[in-house]
Symmetry: C2
Subunit: 565 residues, 2 copies
């Protein structure tokens, strides 16, 4: 599959060049389209692999309003070809559903050969789900496609028309918005993508409270929020000697002790925007706030697995625990992920089947009625709206486990990447960021001093033991004060070794250095394995823009007081 895709990728580059010759405006339009035509929220970012940096400017120009001439070119091309388009049957279209046979799709009666586009589709090979059929149901799911530029892009790939009879037979297009029952969200959130919903709070709100209020907790959905009826909810547990176990919500709450853990969740893409500044990556352009901290309560996964027959025999044949969400796309594919079995069954792993967040039922955006909370592990494995648990010899086969959420060398690009060569991200590396002041802020000289605040956290239960802060770009360092509880409350007891699941908030107040006109504020955290954050972004850059944990830098200007002038 991978190597097939790789071959095609190379073939496609050739095809793209060919089509460029035929159609001079195509490259610019393609650049624009790949920014907009996306099959998932995570992939919304512009994808410039096949294009040099100058393309970005072209695309920006397009968006700024110079699209008319290009659109003319397209329409001209279209008009030229329209008469010649052959008529295809649905059967003929359906035969083109693989990279080998070509990838055809239909849209509003048109037939399109998008083979050459698959490799440059920002949403990856998920585009193949639509192969041989209609685009409409997918575009309804991934609303980012509903834009004029995407339609223009599509038109460049037109190869024919669907015959009238088959067009009539197509299922009436589901015009209702699959996101129509998504919950309301707090207006303070900064939206990175609306459908599916992805948003982060303003950074300065993060350091206001040790436990992030649920409404402000970053949201990272891959699909529409499913509507789950708590009365009929059933959790399936499979792969254990006791045979499949089915638990109602009530049973989950009453058959197992309720366990509470304060744990920070972080998206693998947190701080991706800093990688984008080095070189464009594929994914949502998260700032520094795709991380939040909450108190979670629920049954221990360990207890549920033991009740379903987990024992040493299972440990000998199984290595992973897979989770399936109830959120699904039009093909019925659910969100999925897995974690190592030893994390799931460890007494010290604290993995929860959580039904409460911050003392209340889980909000709809956070997995109501039940989600997995895997402390110390990347957000993507903390599956929401949990429907099924499978103990298995294998990892989850989902796209997100196998072909996403992995780290690569900065030298690896989309031509050379082999997703099998890297492990799925589980524990995250040490992280910290400055939540206030904001980059570009201005401080009055008369204030005399400056308070810098931020968060620090490390994966795998490794406690952050120090945060160093520099005001001069890393030349000299001071040690920040940290806290592990709400302001004014007594600090919580130190966590047992290896179970520091919650972040620490830190701050430092330093006098403004005399004579300085600008402060180059930098922070870096150290965890109790004495892992440090890398100095710079470029050497950890990776094509998916994950694991962005270089020193965080914020520049602040000092304004001299007028009275002193």
């Amino acid at each position: 599959m991978i190597s097939g895709a790789m071959l095609l990728l190379r073939r496609c580059c050739g095809l793209t060049r060919l089509s460029t010759q035929r159609l001079p405006v195509a490259p610019a339009v393609a650049s624009c389209a790949v920014r907009l035509w996306s099959s998932s929220g995570e992939d919304q970012g512009s994808y410039q692999r096949a294009h040099g940096p100058s393309w970005r400017h072209t695309a920006a120009g397009l968006l700024a309003g110079t699209a008319a001439a290009l659109a003319y070119g397209l329409h001209h091309h279209k008009a030229e070809q329209e008469a010649a388009f052959p008529i295809f049957s649905q059967e003929e279209v359906t035969r083109h559903r693989s990279l080998e046979d070509g990838v055809w799709v239909t849209y509003k009666g048109g037939v399109y050969d998008i083979t050459a586009f698959v490799a440059i589709h920002p949403g990856g090979d998920k585009i193949l789900l639509a192969a041989g059929g209609a685009l409409e149901p997918f575009w309804a799911l991934y609303a980012v496609h509903n834009q004029e530029h995407v339609l223009e892009m599509l038109s460049a790939y037109k190869v024919g028309e669907l015959n009238a009879e088959d067009l009539k037979k197509q299922k009436p297009i589901q015009t209702s918005d699959p996101y129509s029952s998504d919950p309301e969200r707090h207006p303070v959130l900064r939206i990175n993508n609306l459908k599916p919903f992805n948003a982060e709070p303003p950074p300065e709100i993060l350091s206001d409270s040790f436990t992030t209020p649920s409404a402000f907790f970053f949201k990272r959905n891959h699909l529409p929020v499913p509507q789950v009826d708590p009365a009929s909810y059933q959790l399936q547990v499979e792969g254990l000697p006791g045979g499949p176990l089915t638990l109602s919500l009530e049973e989950l709450k009453t058959r197992f002790p309720k366990h509470t853990v304060t744990a920070t969740l972080q998206c693998a893409g947190n701080r991706r925007s800093e990688m984008n500044k080095v070189k464009q990556v594929k994914g949502l352009n998260w700032g520094i706030a795709a991380i939040s901290n909450a108190t979670w309560s629920g049954a221990r996964l360990r207890d549920v697995l033991l009740a379903a027959g987990y024992g040493p025999d299972v440990a000998r044949r199984a290595c992973h625990v897979q989770f399936e969400g109830l959120d699904k796309d039009v093909t019925g594919t659910t969100y999925g992920a897995s974690i190592p079995l030893n994390k799931a069954v460890s007494e010290e792993g604290d993995v929860l089947l959580a039904y409460e967040m911050n003392g209340a039922d889980l909000p709809a955006d956070h997995g109501y009625p039940v989600r997995v909370v895997v402390p110390g592990v990347v957000g993507a494995r903390n599956v929401k709206w949990l429907g099924r648990i499978v103990v298995s010899a294998d990892e989850s086969s989902s796209h997100w486990q196998q072909n996403d959420y992995k780290g690569f060398s900065p030298g690896t690009d989309w031509d050379t990447v082999n997703f099998k060569s890297a492990p799925a991200i589980q524990e995250l590396p040490v992280q910290s960021a400055i939540t206030t002041p904001a980059d570009g802020a201005v401080v009055d000289r008369s204030s005399g001093e400056l308070t810098v605040k931020g968060y620090a956290w490390s994966g795998g239960g490794r406690e952050v033991v120090r945060v160093d802060v520099s005001l001069d770009g890393g030349e000299t360092w001071q040690v920040a004060q940290m806290r592990s509880s709400e302001k004014g409350e007594a600090p919580e007891a130190a966590p047992p070794p290896g179970r520091a699941w919650a972040w620490k908030l830190w701050e430092i107040t330093a006098p403004l250095p005399p004579g300085a006109k600008e402060l180059k504020i930098v922070c870096k955290a150290v965890d109790n394995s004495y892992n440090m954050q890398p100095d710079t972004v470029a050497p950890i850059w990776n094509l998916r823009g994950v694991l962005s944990n270089a020193w965080h830098r914020v520049n602040v200007n000092i304004r001299e007081d007028e009275s002193e002038e």
Copy 2:
């Protein structure tokens, strides 16, 4: 204790300045002396805290042979004062055994007030062990003192003579060398300190074999190698409900299953020499080879603790397992360290009471007959010549656990350090280094390509998943090939998650870039928590020079072939 020492440190700086005024040559001599006068091997490095960089050159000049004039100055001073020296009784000397009362010592009938020297003693406050008494037994232990420059330095602190009667009463000086029964060592080792013995293999030997031959395995002793009779050896296990348990070597071997683990040990000071290049630190000037990999066999510590009554009740009151070595100094103080209890008792922790290394009895230098092997944890906790195990609510109170082997911010110096503020190093951060080519090597252009080799490892059982190598100082990166077994042998099965105790050897062969005259080779490793090595040394510099894991850099010159000129 700490704050007392801090106060004194400041007082001493004042005193040093005073003595400088009195004796113009003193600073240079002091700088020389602190390089040489040391109370432990780890502390042999020159300590320049109170001195600017220019002192280093002065010291180097001294060593290169310009000492005569200075020595004259000293002798002149000595001669001037000799007549005036008062006579003290041993009782009077003994009254000066603290920082508050002054620190006096005797040496060959002279009485010395070394109060001002305590704070700048490279061996730390261990010098206080000699307070009020004779230096001779200590200098016999720490042979680094037996040098003329040290004697000259001492003479500057002379305040009197011991009365003849008390001099006669001093115990006959133990002239036998406490290191006389240290084992023979392989001549290939690069000796950092002879007594106690500290040595590392040449780097290129390291990457020759996946399992380091015991003779080449780096040696890091804190004290003389104790002579242990295996027939009468007894291991004490204390702090458990079953009461103290005593095990003979035979019992350890027969009562508990033999368990074998391949584990890499690394000294906290590995690669310290790179920190010394940024700013002088305190400690042995290790290169990149204070790390080695071996196969260890022995009883599981977990099994022994269970036999001694370990259970959930103990887990509720105890947090640490302390180890005491049989190696001791003249006061009877043994080497000691501790690890967290959960690591010691975990089935997945693989902590061994090892009696074999690479399939043979432990060599004398590596802890014969029994040592602790704590996979994934800094060498210093892998206590050799193990005599006693104590399960306790507290960490080891030893110097090495409390006031050494901890990491601090680069902004922390000996005036501001608070050893209580940092956790004792346990798990080490991700590490890698280039073993070949050596820095400064020359490659012929005609060879066409270059092979770079090295090792990579991470603490806490985190598997190294990738090594990136750059030939252009970090601008572009390639991924190295890794191996986890001897060359030509089948690779071992992947370790279970969290139990990757052994390093990986890596190599990469790359064509020589056309036109390049120099290659700036850099390596950096990534572990499966996706922790990366920091880019540069200065921001992780710390006053003890531990945890040196920045990118490793080696520069190589390309020699154009004469035939081509």
